[in-house]
Amino acid sequence: MATAGADTTDVLVIGGGMLGCATAYHLARAGVATTLVERDEINREASGTNAGSLHFQIMRQPDYSKERLDRIRSTVEIHAEAARLWSTIEGDLGCDLGVRLGGGLMIAETPDEFAALQEKCRVERSMGLESEILTQADLRANYPHLSPDLLGADFCGDEGYANPLLVAPAFARGALAAGADIRLQTEVRNIEVLTDGRFQVSFPDGGIRAKRIVNAAGTDLGRLSGLVGHPIKVIAHPLQVHVTEPWPMSLRQLVQHVGRRLTLKQTQYGTFIIGGGWPGRFDAATGRKDVRYDSVLGNLWVAAKVFPFLNNARVVRSWGGHIPITADRMPVMGELPDVPNFFVMHLSAGFTLGPIAGMVMADLVRTGQTSLSIDAFRPARQTELVT
């Protein structure tokens, strides 16, 4: 088993979120000398601050133009593999990750919304996704805890949720056990491409020489790619999530809303997590992701409207997170065309696709091949995404 040295390594993974940890895990287990550096602590950014939803049905689109459909179609395969992986991941990693795959319901409250669901379901099924429309009668019969006023839902059996606080750390532990070196509080200051194609990477105190780099740095991805001449624009949209006290189990599906921002789930601990992308507030001066008052009120209102039981509950905590997004909101995965051995990986659906992306990226780095097509995500197309 190859191990990384103090100042040289084979693969340097930059970023201790889900993507970096999953990639480092697969590399290390394949015997590659791997070092992961994280400027703060593991899993403190997007992959650790989301609501844990596993989305497999498509989000509502303003239109289903060819361009949009092509974009969606290009992510079908990786989503299908992701769904398979989520169903085995706890066994693979040997620990509880809070994975619950009880299906997802995207609900409609108005006739317009119901029509949008029906159209969406047609598109999903045309792409091979097994979703189905449930009517108001279906919902009232099978999901009595949901509001009886809902007009229907798009049900996708693959959907569910996991605990975002546990997954990246589990990959990190597995990576360590497989011989990877993980360095916290280690920020990359500069990357120099040496004449032999290796990289000299410097930190505030010290540095490392690496044969290959995986840039999985989330919102810092653009700056790091810029250091080797290939900046990529990634914008962090602040969002916030809320959680209640524990209650006896009464909801086993992921609930979403086609017309409003909402995700709702009940964890294995009995707590309800209320999210859906309500905007938080990013304080540039302190770097804090703050919680907005209006978003607390609005998010709770939508959730209680759809799941009236919540009117008995109290919100105990809230937190701010963010979702990092490129201009076209597509994944970015691959080797930089003009910088050999420098790989970038970014997903806005980073939680759902994180584990599979780590596996795929490790394959790409190790062998140059991947078992599923990621051609549509290659960084070469990112010229239009340059800052």
Partner: protein
């Protein structure tokens, strides 16, 4: 469904600091709202009898009752709008978000905000601390004084500081069977007694009270043990406290092997001081420093009790535990500062009004400093746990689980919180944050105040969805890819 108010001054907390501030604010013409989460004013120390009880002989109810009543009456007569059963759950700039239990929710726009949230009993983590029968000294006092119910038949008081002495004597006087008092500090030596005495001028009443309490306990033959701390509570067959085990300690409060002794009791009152409630001051972004003897993190304030954030003042135990006498004067001083900053008082008027208040505070603070030196908290109080001891009461996470989940190199309690769930329960980390910080600091080789705390976020108290939820416009949904 929601309300919107505004006021020159919003006072959060109706204990001694808040009440004194309300009376002062009314006297200088500030339009003031005072909010308190309880159904009656007085905070903890001046907790009143709930509605239903009828006070027949107030003169026999002791100094706390009469002092409290005076403060409450003055606040109620001051013109301040008083909102009871009202909880400040978040602050955004000068907007205070409030819900009223069982009623509604809304906001109060404040010219200035005075935080007077008080303190809560220090949670001491020792094996068995979660057993029924282990009760905080403050909780026991409230139960006995304002509900006339005793928590058990054989009560051991463990703790440190003058309040332990006072609580024990009062409990016994009220009819509770206090079988012993276990004080962590050593028997007061001549030098510390002299120091307290010297600082006591102007505090004669407090000093003679203390002597009186000791004399009472001695005459009641209640054993008073010095230099010992609680090390274990053991359950009986019913799963509740049946025995308390204490051990001798040195100045650092570390148990000395072979010195354990036990008391057959069904109740252990734990009184090792208090933690200031700094959730709101932290949420507002106020700067804090760390002082173990004031109860931990305390907001930084200037001489006029302003925090580091303009428009936010802090008074009373919520700024550092110093007792009710200090809280009352600080409440007055903070209100005077608020009046001056709002223009209701000129600089000269404020200075004149504040002069006697500052003089009283100086005298009181000398006394407190002497007391603190005598009863300084020993660091051993954070090392009483065993691996199987529950550290997070709400989520039932043990010390062993916390320690094994602290990643090498981690210097942030939030990381171990995220993977173990410590601090995620309904008490919002009030009972475990300090102990978890100690465990992380130990492994990281850092000082407590050299690490982040559990992130400060609203709500600072759990909020009812039914009251707070309200429709809000949503930004147009951005198209997203699946």
């Amino acid at each position: 469904m929601s309300f919107e108010r505004s006021a020159d001054l919003v006072i959060v907390g109706g204990g001694p600091a808040g009440l004194a501030a309300a009376a002062e604010a009314g006297a200088v013409g500030l339009e003031t709202v005072l909010i308190d989460e309880r159904a009656s004013l007085g905070g903890q120390i001046y907790k009143q009898f709930p509605a239903g009880f009828r006070v027949k002989r107030p003169d026999r109810l002791g100094r706390h009752y009469s002092d409290g009543r005076k403060l409450i009456d003055a606040a109620e007569a001051s013109g301040t709008e008083i909102m009871l059963e009202s909880v400040a759950w978040g602050i955004w700039d000068r907007t205070v978000a409030v819900y009223r239990e069982g009623r509604d929710a809304g906001t109060i726009e404040a010219g200035q905000i005075l935080l007077a949230p008080g303190a809560y009993d220090r949670p001491v983590v020792f094996p068995g601390w979660t057993l029924p029968g282990v009760i905080s000294a403050g909780g026991a006092q409230a139960l006995v004084k304002t509900q006339k119910v005793i928590p058990g038949e054989r009560i051991l008081m463990v703790g440190s500081g003058p309040l332990v002495l006072a609580f024990s004597a009062q409990l016994h006087q009220l009819g509770a069977n206090v079988v012993g008092v276990v004080e962590a500090a050593p028997f007061p030596r001549f030098s510390s007694a002299a120091r307290i005495g010297a600082a006591a001028s102007g505090n004669v009443r407090q000093l003679t009270e203390g002597v009186g309490y000791l004399r009472y306990l001695r005459s009641a033959k209640v054993p008073y043990v010095y230099s010992h701390v609680i090390v274990r509570a053991e359950p009986g067959a019913n799963g509740e406290v049946a025995r308390a085990v204490v051990a001798r300690v040195g100045t650092e409060w570390r148990p000395i092997g072979g010195t354990e002794r036990s008391f057959d009791v069904d109740t252990i009152c734990v009184g090792y001081g208090f933690f200031p409630s700094v959730e709101l001051s932290r949420l507002c972004g106020c700067a804090h420093t760390y002082d173990e003897n004031l109860g931990g993190y305390v907001p930084v304030r200037d001489a006029d009790l302003r925090s580091s954030v303009p428009g936010i003042l802090v008074a009373g135990d919520g700024a550092g535990v110093a007792g009710s006498a200090v809280a009352v004067q600080e409440g007055r001083l903070a209100a005077i500062t608020a009046a001056r900053d709002s223009g209701a008082l000129s600089r000269e008027q404020a200075a004149t009004r504040a002069r006697p208040v500052r003089a009283k505070l100086r005298r009181l603070q000398r006394f407190r400093a002497a007391l603190n030196a005598t009863y300084a908290v020993g660091p051993g109080i954070y090392d009483l746990y065993e691996p199987s001891t529950v550290v997070c009461r709400c989520e039932e996470v043990t010390a062993a689980e916390v320690l094994e989940n602290i990643v090498a190199g981690s210097a942030d309690p939030n990381s171990v919180k995220n993977v173990t769930r410590v601090g995620m329960g309904q008490c919002q980390g009030r009972n475990c944050a300090r102990q978890v910080a100690s465990l992380v600091a130990g492994k990281a080789g850092r000082r407590i105040d050299d690490m982040p705390s559990f992130s400060a976020r609203p709500p600072v108290k759990p909020i009812p969805v039914a009251l707070v939820a309200e429709e809000r416009p949503e930004e147009a949904r951005k198209a997203e890819v699946g």
